[in-house]
Every structure is written in structure tokens, then in C-alpha cells.
Amino acid sequence: MRDVAVIGVGITKFGELWDVSFRQMMIESGARAIEDAKIDGKQIDAMYVGNMSAGQLIRQEHISSLIVDHAGLVPIPSTRVEGACASGGLALRQAVIAVASGIHDFVVAAGIEKMTDVLAEQATWELAAAADQEWEVYEGATFPGLYALMARRHMYEFGTTEEQMAMVAVKNHHNACLNPCAQYHMEVTVDSVLNSSPVALPLKLLDCSPITDGAACVIVAPAEKARKFNDTPILIAGTGQASDNISLHSRPSLTALRATSEAAKKAYKMAGVGPNNIDLAEVHDCFTIAEIMAIEDLDFCKKGEGGKVTQEGETAIGGRISVNTSGGLKGKGHPVGATGIAQAVEIVQQLRGEAGKRQVNGAEVGLAHNVGGSGGTAVVHIFRRGD
């Protein structure tokens, strides 16, 4: 098995991109990644594209063919990967496996979602397709509803407060202000979060990530070849993926995502590091409670202490472990299929020292954590500076 490195990254602005179509977004992020990698497009051997819902949102399936076609890269193999909101992370993992196995050399891992060509209610409705249609959605469950069930239980079992959840949003909006690509460039306060309109109590509007358009792209290559393109290639030292029951009610715990802990365990093992070695992490904060649970499940703190740790500022930029320096899904935006790749883009930029005002000083090891649905899928990647 070969070591794998990231040689290029590209990302569009995230937001309501009225003027930009699905295919335009993909081309834009792909072109930036190729330029960043300083390779020729013709060197790309294969591509994996993460996307959750093009079929419902723009009535387009077979996007693997659409994207490779408009990228001018036929006849290379192109595959669409879907795992709800983990689609991007899964696409990255497929690319890593393809390169590590020796089957391909230069592989694109892309992620994309165009969510604003339909009304917001419909986009929200499509996200619910990630839950169990027969036994959750039929009963009136919504995505925020499922995470709210987790939040209420987390509050009941550990005393986590709505204020602590709000602090996740405050931190991530602050970080997003420092990120030119982020959807939101506005600070929020704990009070504004607590007073925002109810969505599924205890989750309110500002506890929830938004509806976003966006695309992101990374190019991976064998580490031995990567040094030809880059002085500090960023190694993907570990990858781990795991599954859990699709329905929240089937799981033994409502306050932990087993898929996250399982995936993290595998990634840590492969990378030969532990949670204490991680300098920064992009975690899946689709809702504020999700970040609190994620930092527990990734073992950055004990189960039940995620709220306290956040409150005490340990996850701010430069804290014990900087979490979601990009602004996270909350502040940066959550174009579903693109998120997993966008997380990788942020980690790579941070480890290269290119993160501008959001830079975590001396960052050596980063982690990206991407979840599908209410936790049925999770994928974790660990990145390390290659010198």
C-alpha cells in the first residue's frame, strides 16, 4: 500500500449562488485545484464525486458522467459516491484507496451540491431522505427533529445547556468571518442564538446549518510523486469509515454516534496518532449539538463534557484543539455533498500555513470528520505535514 498525499485543493465561494449552475460550480473548484496542484488536467487518472441529491434537487442523475464530461476529462473513470451528508468524505476515501492500492496515480475527489434551485422547504425535505422513510419520516421526523431528540437526551443525561450549544454557533460564525469562502460573514451572540425562531426544540434557527450551494475539489497522488509538485505535500496519514443503524431509534444510545468513534478509531490507528496529537479538526456540525457530540466521539474530551469544553473556549482557534476553523457547516455553509471535501481543503490549507487570519500556529496534524444523515455513516481522515 502506498502513502497518499494531497497535491492540490480548490473550492468555490459557499452561499446562495444564483448565477452559477451545478456544472459551473464543479468546473470552478476543479480548475482551482488543478492550478493549485500545478499539474495538467490530462494527468488525472480517475475521479470520485460526492453528491447527495442532484436527482431530487436538479433532476439530474448520472452526474459522474456529467462532471467528467464538462471537465473535459473523458474517458477517465468517474464515479458518483453517495452517503447522504458524508458523500464528500466518502468520495475522498475512495480516492485515497484508489491511490494507495496502486490502481490510479492522480485522482480527483470532488464534492458538490446545488440546493437553491428549489424552494428552501423542498431542499429541507430532500435532506430528510437520509433518514428512514418508513419508520422515521412517515412519523413526521425531520432532520432537525432527529438531532433535537439527541440534544434533549444529551441535556438530560449530561446537563448540557442550550447556552453551551449556542456557543458552538458563536465560535463558528466568528471563524467564518475570517474565511473568505464562507457563506456567512456575520458574528452572532449567545442571546441571538437563544432567541432565534424555534425549528425543533431545543434547536432553534441559529443552531442549524443553512442551505448552501458550493463545490470543492482535492487532488490526491502517491506521496512519493507528490514532492515533484509541492515542497510540503500534505499526507493523508489515516482514513477510517464506519456505519451505524440508519434510524436513531435503533441505536442503543441517542447521545453518541458510534459510526464516528469507530471511524475515528480506525483512522487514528492507521495514522499512528491519538486524539491528543490532533492540532485542529473540521467536524460535522450540521447542528450545534452535533459538534458537541463529535468532539466527544472523536475522543477530544470525555462523553458528556463537550458542552463544557466548548464553553471554556478549548475549541476556539488556538485553543487546546481548534475545531471548525473554517466556520464549520454552521458558518461556512453546508452544500451537502461538498462538505466532506471542503473540510479536507481547510485542513490542507491550515497545515500548509495558508489559512490567513484563521491560521492555527504550528499546525502539524489535522482531522476531518464527515457524517451522513443522523449518524448512519461516518468517515474520518487524518492529515499530516509531509516533512
Binding site: 413526521g140 425531520t142 434533549r152 437526551r153 424555534p198
Partner: protein, 130 residues
Amino acid sequence: MAAPRFWREIPNRYNLIGTRCGNCNKIYFPPRYICPSCRRMGKLEPYKLERRGKVVSYTVVYVGANGFEDQVPYLLAIVELKEGPRLTAQITDCNPSEVKIGDEVELVFRRMGEENADGILYYGYKARLI
């Protein structure tokens, strides 16, 4: 949801018919067709659960799911049935402020929605505080 898809699940939705593994005796609702523990050794048979349980968690939904927009705010809960399995169900006929984790509930037969104005009606279970 088209007619055959709804119809197939009538015994499960109306009468809480789940499955039980004849090998390890574990009871599943919603029904499973493979016992995750016993796998090939498992023998899944229909099993009727009692319509009683308790609230494990709940939320008050203000932005409703498709078809439930006119019922907001509504209570959505995870209910742990007497026999062990948990399911997701609304809690009907009560004020959100009346519900606590641990409350006993019974499952009642209620209208869950309709395909559209000309389509079939969907029925199923909701929870009600005892």
C-alpha cells in the same frame, strides 16, 4: 407513498406486528428480516407487540415534515416499548409542556396523512400520554 408501499406495512403500522428471532428470542420493531446477532442461524417470525411504552426523548417540531405543516408545533418522540424495541412516533393530544422523559404512553390509531387530495389516506400509530 404509493398504495402498495403503504398497504404492505398495514399489519405493522396498525397492529404493531414486528418480528422475533426464534433463535435468540430478540424482538424487533420495526420488523427486521435478518437478525443482526444470529444472521443465518436466525429464524424471524411475526410477533405482535403491546401498544405500551415510555418516552426516551422528545422534541417540539416547529418546521414540520411534508404533510404535517398544519399540525405544528407537534411533539416528536422516541418511545421505548414495553418489550424493549424503540420507535419514533408523535405524541398527540397533549401540550408540549406536559411531556417529560420517562412518561408512560400508549400507541393509538391516527391518520398520518394522505398521498394528495385525491389519493389514499395513510394511517398509523401515534403515542398518547397515559
